[in-house]
C-alpha cells in the first residue's frame, strides 16, 4: 500500500536524479581545495601567474591554474594528501611551497608574495615559502590523523574506532567502538568511508569493519559540522582510504600477542589470550596517470577464555574466538583532466564463537555470531569550469548477522531444542535461547555542486548545494529454539516461557511456532545549501540551511517516524593577525536526528511470550502467567495510553518532534612557533526532544512504587505498552573546553589535548530507557551522565630518535565517570530504580541532603612503542615494532556493579593488564 510519504520520497528521488544528471563540475566533502591569491610586495594582486600543484595522491599528474585579475587561483576536488606548489611568471622569481596538507572538506588558503627578478638573479632562483598550518576559513572542530602518524603510535585498538576515541571531546572508556562525542549518545555518530555513508542503518553505530593499513587518513569532526552534516548530532568520522599511485607498491604487516606477553595478571583475568593479524596491500598504476588500483586485506584471529570455576561445580567455559577478514578494493580512473571516477568496495566477514562467556553457561548453551559486511561505492568528481565543481556518489552497503546457538555446529536439530535455565545453580543449559538472522541494507545517492564567484564589491563566494538520499531496509527473521524456554530448580519444573510468532489473543488462543519474519524500511533526504562568503581576505562567513525529510515504516507498513525539519547554520572564521597563522572562529548549528531503523523495529511485531510458573498442585504451568511482546506492546505518539484518548474523550495523538541539537562553538587557533599549533575550542550543545520510549498503559501512584489499585492499567490488561515519543523532558546538555597542542612536522610529532567537560541530562545510553516509564522516578534522572568525564588529558607523541629508530607513546588521563546505585523495581522487576539523584548514592537513607556522588576512579594509561627500521641491515624496507600497552600496569575499574545488592560496587570490568605486542612491516 502506497502512502503519502512514498509519493513524496519518490518525488525527492527524481529531483535527486535530475540533479545528478546536470553537467556540472565537482567538489566533494572527501576532497579538499587549495585556493589563494598572488600578491606583489606592495600588496597589489598579480594576474597571469601560473600556479602548478602536485602530490603523489593526486591522479592525473600536475594541475595548473593561472591567477585572475584579482590574483586569485583555485584547485578544487583534490584528494587529501601533501601537496607541493610552484608559481611562476615571466620576470618574476619562482615561488615554491611544499608540505601543503590538504584535508577532506577543507580549503587551504595561500598568499603568495612574488618578487620581480633583478637582473643578476639566476633564472632558476626559487623562493621557498612556508605552507600554512592553520585553516583560517573554517569553524569546524575536530582532528585529522594521517596514516603515517597513526602507524607509529602504540594504539590499543588498531582500528579507526580506536582512533576516534582519542580525539578531544570523544570518550569510549570501555572500548565499545562507538565513542560518545560531545554529549552525543553512542548512536549519534556518522561513519563514512570516502564520504559515503556507512553507518549501520538499524543501530546507527559503525557499520563497516576496515583494514587498519588501508586507512590514509581518519578525520574526526566533533563540532561545527555545518549544513551538509546537519543530520548528525554526535561526531562525524570520515575515513579516507588509500589509493594506488603511479608507483607499484607492496605493503604487508603482521602483529602478534599472546598470554606470554601479558604481565601482572591476577586470578580475575581471562586466560588463553592470543591475537594475530596479517595484512597485505598492493597498489599501483594500471595506466600511469589514468587508472590506479589498490587492494588491501587482513586476517584477524583472536581467542580468550574466562577462567574456569576452580570448585568444579560450574561448567568449563569454551574459548571465545574471532576469525575475521577485512578487505578493500579500489579503482581510481581519471577519465579526462576534469573528470575522475572512483570505485571502491569493502568486505568483511567474521565468525564469533562462544560469545556469551559466562561461568553460568554450559558449552551447549553458548552462542555464535556470523556476520558479513559489504560496501560498494562509485563516485564521479568533475571540474567543468574553474568556478563550478561537483561530486556525485552512488553507494550500497549491506550487513548480515546470524546470531544463534553454538550447538548448530554439531546438532542439525538445534532449532528444535529448547534452552533451559536452572535457578538452583543459575546455569543455562541444553541450548541458547534465541536465534535471529537479518540483513541491513542501505542505498545512497548523494552529491553536491559548488559554484565559486569572486567579486570586488561582494567578496568571494563558494555557494554549495548538496543532497543525500538514503533508502534502508532491515529484513529480519527470529525465533526461539524449541519455541520455549524452560526453567528448573534442580530437576523440578519452575517456569515455562512459550513463544509464538503470532499474537495468540488475535487468533483465538492459537500459538504458531517457527520463525517470525518482518521487514522495516526507511527513506531520508537532506537538501543543503551554504555559502562560504569572504567579505574580506581575512574573514569567512558561512551561512547554511538544510532541509530534512525522513520517514520509516514498521513491518506492518505503519509509518513510525515522519519528520520534516529545517536546520539553520552560521559559522564565522577570522584571521586577526592577517598572516594565515591565527584564526578566531565561532559557529551556531542546529542538528536533527531523523531516526534510524531500530525505531521502526521497536514498533514492529515481536515474538509473543507467555510466561507461567509451575503449579505443583495442578501439575501444569498455570501460575502468574503473563503475556508480553506480540503486536500490541508498542505504539507511536500516543502518550495518554494505547487507546489514544484523553480522559475527556479527546485524542492525544501527537506528531513526533524531531530530536534537535543546538550547538554553539567558540574557538581560537594559532601557530605559536613554526610547526607548533595551539588551539582551544569551547562547545556547548543542548539536546532536546530525544528519542524515548514511554510506558503508557500502567497507572502509577505518585512515587512510582506501585501500579494503582483503582485501575492499574488503562486497557484493562496487566500489560506494559511502550510508546515511541520525543518528549520535551528527554533532554541533555554538554559543555566542553578543549585545548590542544599540535606538532605535525619534524622529529617530534605530537597531538596533546586537555578537555574539561560537563555532560548532564536525563539519559544518553539508549533510546529505549526507563526514563518516564515510571512517573515517580522521573525527577531522579537528570544528572551527570555516564559520559560525564570532567577531565581528559591525552598526549599522542612520536619521536625519531635515530634515522632507524623511533619511539611513540599514548598517555591518557580520564577522571572517573559517575555511576548509580539502582534498587529493585518491584513492578518492572530488576534493578532499575533510583533512590537518589542520578550519579548519587542515598547512603541507605532517604534524606536527600546527605547524598554522596558516585564516581569511578580516575583512569591513567600509558602505551609505548619502539620501532626500528632494518633497511640499513637487510637492504629491504622492513620495520619491526614492539608495543607495550598499559605500561603503568594500572588495573583501574572501568565498570562496577550498580545493583543495590551484595554485589554493589564490585568491579566487573577493569583496565586490561600490561601487555606487549610484536609487529612487523614490509614495504616494497
Amino acid at each position: 500500500m502506497k502512502t503519502k510519504n512514498d509519493i513524496l520520497m519518490k518525488g525527492a528521488f527524481f529531483v535527486t536524479l535530475a540533479l545528478m544528471l546536470l553537467p556540472v563540475v565537482s567538489f566533494a566533502q572527501t576532497t579538499g581545495t587549495i585556493s589563494g591569491t598572488v600578491w606583489d610586495q606592495t600588496g597589489t594582486p598579480v594576474a597571469g601567474v601560473n600556479v602548478v600543484i602536485e602530490s603523489p595522491t593526486q591522479i592525473g599528474g600536475k594541475q595548473s591554474s593561472v591567477s585572475d585579475q584579482g590574483g586569485r587561483f583555485r584547485f578544487s576536488s583534490l584528494t587529501p594528501g601533501t601537496f607541493s606548489l610552484l608559481a611562476s611568471a615571466p620576470r618574476l622569481k619562482k615561488i615554491s611551497q611544499s608540505g601543503i596538507r590538504v584535508s577532506q572538506g577543507k580549503t587551504v588558503e595561500l598568499d603568495l608574495i612574488v618578487e620581480v627578478e633583478s637582473g643578476d638573479t639566476p633564472e632558476e632562483y626559487v623562493i621557498e615559502q612556508k605552507a600554512p598550518s592553520v585553516n583560517t576559513n573554517s569553524a569546524s572542530v575536530g582532528e585529522s590523523y594521517d596514516a603515517e602518524f597513526l602507524d607509529k603510535l602504540p594504539l590499543t585498538s588498531r582500528d579507526y574506532q580506536g582512533v576516534v576515541a582519542l580525539t578531544p571531546g570523544a570518550t569510549d572508556r570501555e572500548g565499545s567502538g562507538n565513542a560518545q562525542v560531545r554529549g552525543g549518545a553512542y548512536f549519534n555518530n556518522s561513519y563514512k568511508i570516502d564520504g559515503f555513508e556507512t553507518t549501520d542503518p538499524v543501530t546507527h553505530t559503525f557499520g563497516q569493519n576496515f583494514s587498519f593499513n588501508a586507512i590514509s587518513q581518519v578525520d574526526v569532526q566533533t563540532a561545527g559540522f555545518g549544513a551538509e552534516n546537519s543530520g548528525t548530532t554526535g561526531g562525524i568520522v570520515n575515513i579516507v582510504t588509500k589509493s594506488g599511485s603511479n608507483k607499484f607498491e607492496f605493503d604487508s604487516s603482521a602483529t602478534y600477542t599472546d598470554d606470554h606477553m601479558r604481565f601482572f595478571e591476577d586470578n580475575r583475568d581471562r586466560g588463553g589470550n592470543r591475537a594475530a593479524n596479517v595484512g597485505l596491500q598492493v597498489g599501483g598504476p594500471i595506466q600511469k596517470d589514468r587508472i590506479w588500483f589498490y587492494v588491501a586485506g587482513e586476517v584477524n584471529n583472536s581467542t580468550s577464555t574466562i577462567l574456569a570455576d576452580t570448585s568444579g561445580q560450574l561448567p568449563n567455559p569454551p574459548p571465545f574466538s574471532i576469525l575475521a577478514f577485512n578487505g578493500l578494493a579500489k579503482i581510481t580512473w581519471q577519465l579526462n583532466p576534469r573528470n575522475k571516477v572512483e570505485w571502491k568496495s569493502t568486505y568483511s566477514t567474521g565468525d564469533f564463537r562462544n560469545i556469551r562467556q559466562s561461568p553460568f553457561v554450559e558449552p551447549e548453551a553458548e552462542a555464535r555470531q556470523l556476520q558479513t559486511t559489504l560496501f560498494s561505492g562509485l563516485s564521479l568528481n568533475s571540474v567543468l569550469t574553474d568556478n563550478l565543481v561537483s561530486v556525485i556518489r552512488a553507494g550500497y552497503q549491506q550487513q548480515y548477522f546470524d546470531v544463534g546457538p553454538e550447538s548448530c555446529l554439531w546438532d542439525p536439530n538445534c532449532s528444535n531444542v529448547p534452552g533451559e535455565i536452572d535457578f538452583a545453580s543459575g546455569v543455562s543449559r541444553k541450548n541458547f535461547t534465541s536465534q535471529s538472522r537479518q540483513y541491513r541494507r542501505t542505498f545512497e545517492l548523494s552529491g553536491d555542486v559548488t559554484y565559486f564567484k569572486d567579486t570586488k564589491a561582494l567578496g568571494t563566494h563558494g555557494i554549495k548545494f548538496g543532497w543525500k538520499y538514503l533508502a534502508a531496509e532491515n529484513p529480519l527473521a527470529m525465533t526461539v529454539p524449541g519455541d520455549q524456554v524452560l526453567g528448573y530448580i534442580g530437576q523440578e519444573p519452575y517456569f515455562r516461557q512459550e513463544t509464538c510468532v503470532n499474537d495468540p489473543r488475535q487468533e483465538g488462543g492459537n500459538c504458531r511456532s517457527g520463525w517470525l519474519r518482518s521487514d522495516v524500511k526507511s527513506n531520508s533526504l537532506i537538501l543543503h545549501l551554504s555559502d562560504q562568503f569572504k567579505p574580506t581576505r581575512y574573514v569567512t562567513i558561512t551561512p547554511g540551511l538544510a532541509l530534512h525529510r525522513s520517514n520509516s515504516q514498521d513491518d506492518r507498513q505503519r509509518i513510525v517516524t515522519d519528520i520534516v525539519a529545517l536546520t539553520p547554520h552560521l559559522a564565522v572564521a577570522w584571521d586577526p593577525t592577517h598572516d594565515g597563522r591565527t584564526v578566531l572562529r565561532a559557529s551556531y548549528n542546529s542538528y536533527v536526528d531523523t531516526g534510524f531503523l531500530a525505531l521502526a523495529r521497536f514498533t514492529s511485531r515481536q515474538l509473543s511470550e507467555r510466561f507461567c510458573f509451575y503449579n505443583k498442585d495442578i501439575g501444569g504451568f498455570v501460575d502468574n502467567c503473563r503475556l508480553s511482546g506480540g503486536q500490541e506492546s508498542t505504539t507511536v505518539g500516543l502518550p495518554c495510553g494505547p487507546d489514544g484518548l484523553n480522559p475527556d474523550g479527546t485524542s492525544c495523538r501527537t506528531n513526533l518532534n524531531a530530536p534537535r541539537t543546538h550547538e554553539f562553538t567558540l574557538g581560537a587557533e594559532r601557530e605559536v612557533i613554526t610547526g607548533l599549533v595551539a588551539k582551544t575550542d569551547f562547545v556547548y550543545r543542548k539536546y532536546s526532544h530525544q528519542w524515548e520510549d514511554l510506558e503508557t498503559n500502567a497507572i502509577w501512584n505518585k512515587g512510582g512504587s506501585a501500579v494503582r489499585q483503582d485501575g492499574g492499567y488503562k486497557n484493562g490488561r496487566s500489560q506494559f505498552v511502550f510508546d515511541l515519543e520525543t518528549p520535551s523532558q528527554a533532554r541533555r546538555r554538554y559543555m566542553g573546553l578543549s585545548t590542544s597542542l599540535l606538532k605535525r612536522e619534524g622529529l617530534l610529532k605530537m597531538n596533546a589535548s586537555y578537555t574539561l567537560a560537563k555532560d548532564e541530562g536525563v539519559a544518553n545510553d539508549d533510546y529505549i530507557t526507563s526514563f518516564l516509564d515510571n512517573p515517580g522516578q522521573a525527577p531522579y534522572f537528570y544528572g551527570p551522565l555516564p559520559s560525564d568525564i570532567r577531565h581528559v588529558l591525552r598526549v599522542l607523541a612520536q619521536y625519531q630518535v635515530l634515522p632507524w629508530l623511533s619511539v611513540g607513546g599514548v598517555y591518557e588521563f580520564q577522571s572517573g565517570p559517575p555511576y548509580n546505585r539502582y534498587s529493585l523495581d518491584p513492578v518492572y522487576g530488576g534493578f532499575s530504580r533510583f533512590t537518589a539523584k542520578r550519579g548519587y548514592d542515598s547512603r541507605g537513607n532517604l534524606n536527600p541532603d546527605d547524598d554522596v556522588a558516585l564516581r569511578l576512579p580516575d583512569l591513567m594509561n600509558l602505551d609505548f612503542q619502539a620501532r626500528a627500521s632494518l633497511r640499513s641491515l637487510v637492504g629491504h624496507n622492513i620495520d619491526v615494532f614492539f608495543d607495550v600497552l598499559n605500561l603503568l600496569a594500572t588495573r583501574t575499574p572501568l565498570a562496577v556493579a550498580q545493583s543495590d545488592n551484595q554485589f554493589f560496587g564490585q568491579t566487573i570490568f577493569r583496565n586490561p593488564p600490561m601487555r606487549a605486542r610484536l609487529g612487523l612491516r614490509y614495504r616494497f
Binding site: D623, S705, G711
Partner: protein, 602 residues
C-alpha cells in the same frame, strides 16, 4: 588575543551566574516521593482495644521519639514544625479536604491544577441533557477509575486550583542526625507569603528559611499542634468503624524537595471547622487543641531550649507471660486488647487528658484471663495486676474513636449445638426461615453505620454479591441467602468486591470429575457446581472463584467469565450472570474477577 578571549569567557560566565542566581530564589525542584525502605504494608488497619469501658479502635503509626526523665522514663514527645502557607490577606493556601465517595477516604493534596477527587457526574450539571449526560457518564465508566474525567478543584476565595503543600524538615526515614526527633506531631507555623508567590514553589525548609530571612515572607508560630504521622505512599490507612464524622485526610507535605504523605489522625479541628472550612491566618482562638500540649525547657546553658511537647500517655496491653527452659521468658500480648484513657477533644468544652503518644505497658495476665476483662485503665488498677513495662516502646498510637454499641436487644440462638448471642430482632426471611434482623438500629443509624449483629457494635453496612466492600467501607454479608448458602466474601479483603462465599473446610465431592481437566473446566460441589468455579480457602472461610485463560481475545474473555445460574427468590426463579463485568485477571493464577476500577452500570 588570549586576553580578548578571556574577557569573553568572563563576560559569559558572569551573565550565566547572574541569571542562575535570579531564577533560583525561593523555588525548589520537586525531587520525587519519599518512600520508606523495604516493602511497607499496603494497608494499615485499626487495632482494637478499649477506652473508658468502651470498645475502641487505634492506629499504630510506629515509634515516636521522646524526651525522658532522669530515670529514663518517657515523658513527652517533641513537636516539630509544620509550615502552613497563607496569602498576604490571610487566606489559606492549604487545599480543602476532599472525600472520595467511592472509598470514603479523605484527602488533602496540593500542587498546581489540583483535580477533584471524584469523577465528574455529567448528569449533576444543571440543565444537562439526560441522554447526552448519560452517554458521557457511560464513557467515563469505560475507563479506569483513576483516569476518569475530573474537574479542577478551584479555591473560590482565590480563584485558583493551585495549593501549597505544608513543609516539614523531619521525617522518620532519616538515619542520620535528626532521626531522634521525629514523633509525628507538628506545630502549626504560619507563613505569610508575598502576593507574587506562586503556591507550591517552595519545597524545602532551607529555602523557606531564606525567604523568611529576606523579609518577604513572615513566619508566626501558633503553639497549636496536630498529629499527622508519616505513611508511605503505598500504605492506605483503612477507615475504621468509629467516629466516621471527623475528617482524617491523607495529607501531602514537602520534605526536603520530596513529596511525603502523612495521615491527619488528630487535628482537623485545629486546621478547620466541622463544615470543612479552613481557618485563615491569625485565628489561634478558633484552632482547637485536640490533645494535650505543654512547653518544657530542655538542656542547660547554651544548649537550653524551650520546647513544645506532647505528654506521653500509657497504653496497656494484657500479656501472658510464660517460661520454659528451652525458650526462656515469653511474653504474648493478647490481641485486640489495647487499653488507654482519654479521648480527642471535639470542642472546647471537652475535657483534656488525651494524648496520641503512648508508652506501651505490658499487663501480666494469667492463662485463664478472659478476653475483654480489662476495658478501662481504672479497671486495671482495681484488678491490681502486676505491671511489666516495656521501657523503650513509645508509639504514635492515636485513638480513632470509640465504637458505638448497638441499641437493639440481644437474641440467643443455638448454632451447631452452641448458644450464640446476637443483637437484633427476631424475624423471618422471604422463605419463612427464622433470622436475626439488625437493620435500623437507632444508635448506629445516627452515626451513619449499621448494627453488626455478630459483634453487637455499629459497623460498616453489609452488602451482597458484586458490591464494593472493604475495611471500614462495607462488609460482605456472611448470611445465607437465596443466591448463596454461605453468604459472600470480600476479595481482595482490604478493598474489593463481594463474591460467593463457600465452606472451604468441606471437601469437594466432585473432585474425581476434575482429573485430566483444564482448570477452567473444573467443577466444585461447594460452588454450586458451576463450571470453572473452585472454592479457595480465604479469610477463614472460603470464596468461589472461576478459573479462566488470559490468552484469548477480549470478547472471548468476557464470554469465558460468563456464568449464568438460577436461584429462587420470593417464590420465583431468577437468572443471574455471576460473571457480568468480570475480566480474566492474573492474581497468582488466572481467575475471573472484577477489575479494581469496576463500576456497576446499574
Amino acid at each position: 588575543m588570549s586576553q580578548r578571549l578571556l574577557s569573553i569567557w568572563a563576560l559569559l560566565t558572569a551573565v550565566g551566574a547572574v541569571g542562575t542566581a535570579c531564577s533560583s530564589d525561593y523555588h525548589d525542584e520537586s525531587f520525587g516521593v519519599l518512600e520508606f525502605r523495604g516493602t511497607p504494608p499496603t494497608q494499615l488497619l485499626p487495632e482494637d482495644g478499649f477506652e473508658g469501658g468502651g470498645r475502641a479502635q487505634y492506629y499504630n503509626f510506629g515509634d515516636a521519639a521522646n524526651l525522658k526523665n532522669a530515670f529514663g522514663e518517657p515523658l513527652s514527645a517533641r513537636v516539630n514544625a509544620m509550615y502552613f502557607f497563607f496569602t498576604p490577606d490571610g487566606k489559606p493556601l492549604l487545599a480543602p479536604v476532599m472525600r472520595e465517595s467511592r472509598t470514603r477516604q479523605d484527602f488533602l493534596v496540593g500542587g498546581s491544577d489540583v483535580l477533584q477527587m471524584n469523577p465528574k457526574d455529567f448528569c449533576a450539571v444543571v440543565g444537562a441533557n439526560p441522554v447526552d449526560c448519560k452517554a458521557l457518564n457511560d464513557r467515563q465508566l469505560d475507563r479506569p477509575y483513576s483516569i476518569r474525567y475530573r474537574e479542577l478543584l478551584i479555591d473560590a476565595a482565590r480563584g485558583s486550583a493551585t495549593y501549597q503543600r505544608p513543609i516539614v524538615d523531619v521525617s522518620p526515614t532519616d538515619l542520620t542526625g535528626i532521626r531522634g526527633i521525629y514523633s509525628g506531631v507538628w506545630e502549626i507555623v504560619e507563613i505569610t507569603v508575598p502576593s507574587s508567590y506562586e503556591p507550591d514553589a517552595i519545597k524545602h525548609r532551607t529555602t523557606l528559611k531564606k525567604a523568611v530571612e529576606s523579609g518577604d515572607f513572615k513566619e508566626r508560630r501558633t503553639g497549636k499542634v496536630v498529629n499527622c504521622p508519616f505513611i508511605d505512599e503505598r500504605t492506605e490507612v483503612s477507615q475504621g468503624v468509629a467516629d466516621a464524622a471527623t475528617p482524617r485526610p491523607r495529607m501531602e507535605v514537602w520534605y526536603r524537595n520530596k513529596l511525603a504523605f502523612c495521615y491527619l489522625a488528630d487535628g482537623w479541628l485545629t486546621l478547620g471547622d466541622n463544615a470543612l472550612g479552613r481557618y485563615p491566618a491569625n485565628s489561634d482562638s478558633l484552632r482547637l487543641d485536640t490533645f494535650d500540649v505543654s512547653r518544657v525547657t530542655s538542656g542547660e546553658g547554651v544548649a537550653q531550649e524551650n520546647l513544645l511537647v506532647v505528654p506521653v500517655g500509657k497504653a496497656f496491653v494484657p500479656t501472658r507471660v510464660s517460661f520454659d527452659e528451652v525458650n526462656g521468658v515469653s511474653r504474648i500480648p493478647v490481641g485486640g486488647q489495647i487499653v488507654t484513657e482519654g479521648r480527642p477533644r471535639k470542642s472546647k468544652m471537652d475535657p483534656p487528658g488525651y494524648t496520641p503518644i503512648r508508652w506501651f505497658w505490658n499487663i501480666r495476665v494469667e492463662g485463664e484471663y478472659r478476653a475483654d476483662s480489662f476495658d478501662s485503665v481504672a479497671k486495671l488498677d482495681q484488678e491490681g495486676q502486676t505491671r511489666a513495662q516495656s521501657p523503650t516502646t513509645v508509639r504514635n498510637l492515636p485513638l480513632r474513636g470509640v465504637q458505638t454499641a448497638c441499641s437493639l436487644g440481644k437474641v440467643l440462638r443455638t448454632i451447631n449445638g452452641r448458644n450464640v448471642e446476637f443483637c437484633g430482632r427476631d424475624a423471618q426471611d422471604e422463605s419463612g426461615n427464622p433470622i436475626v434482623d439488625a437493620s435500623g438500629d437507632p444508635a448506629c443509624t445516627a452515626t451513619g453505620l449499621q448494627c453488626n449483629k455478630n459483634t453487637c457494635f455499629c459497623d460498616s453496612p453489609p452488602v451482597k454479591f458484586g458490591q464494593r466492600c472493604g475495611e471500614g467501607l462495607a462488609r460482605c454479608d456472611e448470611d445465607k441467602d437465596a443466591l448463596s448458602d454461605n453468604g459472600y466474601t470480600c476479595f481482595p479483603s482490604n478493598v474489593g468486591f463481594c463474591y460467593l462465599g463457600c465452606n472451604a473446610f468441606k471437601n469437594n465431592n466432585l473432585e474425581k470429575q476434575n482429573r485430566g481437566r483444564e482448570p477452567k473446566d473444573f467443577v466444585d460441589s461447594r460452588c454450586k457446581e458451576l463450571r470453572g468455579y473452585r472454592c479457595f480457602p480465604y479469610q477463614n472461610r472460603g470464596i468461589c472463584l472461576r478459573f479462566c485463560d488470559e490468552n484469548v481475545l477480549d470478547t472471548e474473555t468476557m464470554k469465558q467469565c460468563q456464568s449464568v445460574t438460577n436461584f429462587q427468590q420470593g417464590g420465583m426463579t431468577r437468572t443471574v450472570d455471576l460473571g457480568q463485568g468480570q475480566q480474566c485477571q492474573n492474581v497468582g493464577f488466572q481467575i475471573c474477577s472484577w477489575p479494581d476500577d469496576y463500576s456497576p452500570r446499574n
